[in-house]
Symmetry: C2
Subunit: 316 residues, 2 copies
């Protein structure tokens, strides 16, 4: 469930565009006015505002926002105003350019989306970049990380609920042997995690835990490797097992004592605010014994904080 709220009576796109123009004019930008409009409009409404703004003022709204805002608020607003599918294609593309560090973004897009949603992102990628996400991943990643990411973004996973229990049992055994073996059999791990349906994988992970008394995620931590592969694999397993729980982990890591990772915080809030942030918020509260709003309130400030709070359902 989404967390954003929209007013009962939505102003026309032209009225919203006008309110934005007014917020840009004069000395300094009225950031609160910008947030009051854009944080409380859904994707279709934001698109209409972009179109109305361009038609009426002969100027690209996204570019104007980038020049009017700055810092974390600018980056967050930039991503928020984009179409949700294009936004993911753009985030995936940016991640391919620094793939040995930013691979978690690609894993999230591949594993936390449904297969129909992933396909939509891949189509948007074609339209924006005149090439496929697969070829950019294949050309820029190396080794096992490359094989894993390619399987994750390439496979058009079956998304039904049917589970083959015998297969789950036998593949849990293969995974266990592959993970605990001195010479880890990455090919088999990548094959199973990269191609089986999510329902099938969750049955396999369940068997793994039942048979071996430890979760596959913990078992995977045994084998360290210097490339991002092991981490990417654990990220994939986490996203497939329980995406909400995974995003709670990202949020908690982003608001760690050692400092705030605004990019990760923004990514989770912006990408999920009009999709499933309610579930992530509830899971966060349960896990951290503090509401997500409180944690964000403590860790951020200014207009950036106001914007995130608005996306979380506050202040209308």
């Amino acid at each position: 469930m989404a967390t954003i709220t929209t007013p009962q009576v939505i102003p026309s796109p032209a009225e919203d565009a006008d309110a934005l123009l007014k917020a840009f004019q004069g000395w300094g930008t009225d950031e609160q006015a910008v947030i009051a409009v854009l944080a409380h409009r859904d994707a279709a409404q934001r698109k209409q505002i972009r179109v109305a703004y361009e038609q009426n003022y002969n100027e690209n709204l996204i570019q104007r926002l980038q020049s009017e805002l700055s810092g974390d608020l600018e980056r967050a607003m930039y991503h928020w105003v984009l179409d949700p599918v294009e936004r993911q294609a753009m985030m995936a593309n940016a991640a391919t350019k620094c793939i040995h560090e930013d691979y978690p973004v690609i894993v999230e897009i591949a594993c936390a989306n449904s297969c129909a949603e992933l396909l939509a992102v891949k189509r948007a990628y074609h339209a924006l970049y005149k090439c496929s996400l697969e070829e950019d991943v294949a050309a820029r990643a190396t080794g096992n990380l490359c094989s894993l990411l390619l399987a994750l973004v390439g496979t058009y996973r079956y998304d039904g609920d049917e589970v083959n229990d015998a297969l789950a049992k036998s593949e849990a055994k293969i995974l266990y042997e592959s993970v605990t073996n001195g010479e880890t059999n990455h090919r088999e791990i990548i094959r199973i995690v990269g191609t089986r349906s999510k329902a099938q994988l969750n049955a396999t992970f369940g068997w793994f835990k039942e048979e071996h008394g430890t979760s596959i995620i913990k078992a995977l931590q045994l084998g360290a490797d210097p490339t991002g592969y092991s981490h990417a694999l654990r990220t994939a397993v986490r996203c497939i097992s329980d995406a909400n729980k995974y995003f709670v982990k990202v949020l908690r890591n982003a608001m760690h004592k050692s400092g705030t990772d605004e990019d990760s915080l923004t990514r989770v809030i912006v990408m999920h605010a009009e999709k499933d942030l309610k579930g992530i918020k509830d899971a966060f509260h349960k896990r951290a014994s503090v509401a997500l709003e409180q944690a964000i309130d403590r860790d951020t400030s200014g207009d950036y904080k106001s914007f995130l709070m608005a996306l979380l359902g506050g202040g209308i």
Copy 2:
């Protein structure tokens, strides 16, 4: 362009179903009557006939055809009556079960279809088998053959016409070095052939020939390997370079002096008769200096021959 012909006035599905029932009744089956109906109906019409037959006679038409016909005609008619997309999904599934021999079917489906057509086949595969084509390929193939097939079926290739000439030149060099190197670098070959767009690959293959005076297909023949991988790779390159030319080769091999390979002959004719068999027929005539109809006339006989001839546009 398709080769099948349909009558100017199409009988109703109920009339066609009735004609088929009459052809099945009495002593022996009237194969010519069956061919006269089904070989001259397009996919949508055949589907309506299947529905009408089942409704009116409470019997599955495909099963009845299988019990009434036999040999090569039965197998060809069985595939012909199916929905074209489901037919490919079923052929791909059958091929995964004997993947180290039947991989060419999978390569053809992955590379001779557009990316939208391949996606439709993968969707039909989900619906029919409650799993993905990718997981069946990954579970049943091994080694480089597996990596290649997975990239071919998994990648949602970009299908635009844009070509990056500098990339084509640099990847032609990578391919040449990978192929001619004693220790062939399969990973790079699979990456390029498996993920780049067809337009991009054709530019790369063009540069390869220009720079090295030999086609990549000929160069690939230098490195023999005991698994199907090398052959699968050449098949992929052929399908991507010029699918018509590739199917001409399949047809010529199927009608070789040493005997006829009816399965391959049927596959090409049935799969392309209502899609692009006209182009394949023209390319065959040019290459073999004999019309495809003449070659088939020489190599086949009986009702099977009549059926293929009808699919090629003969006798209405």
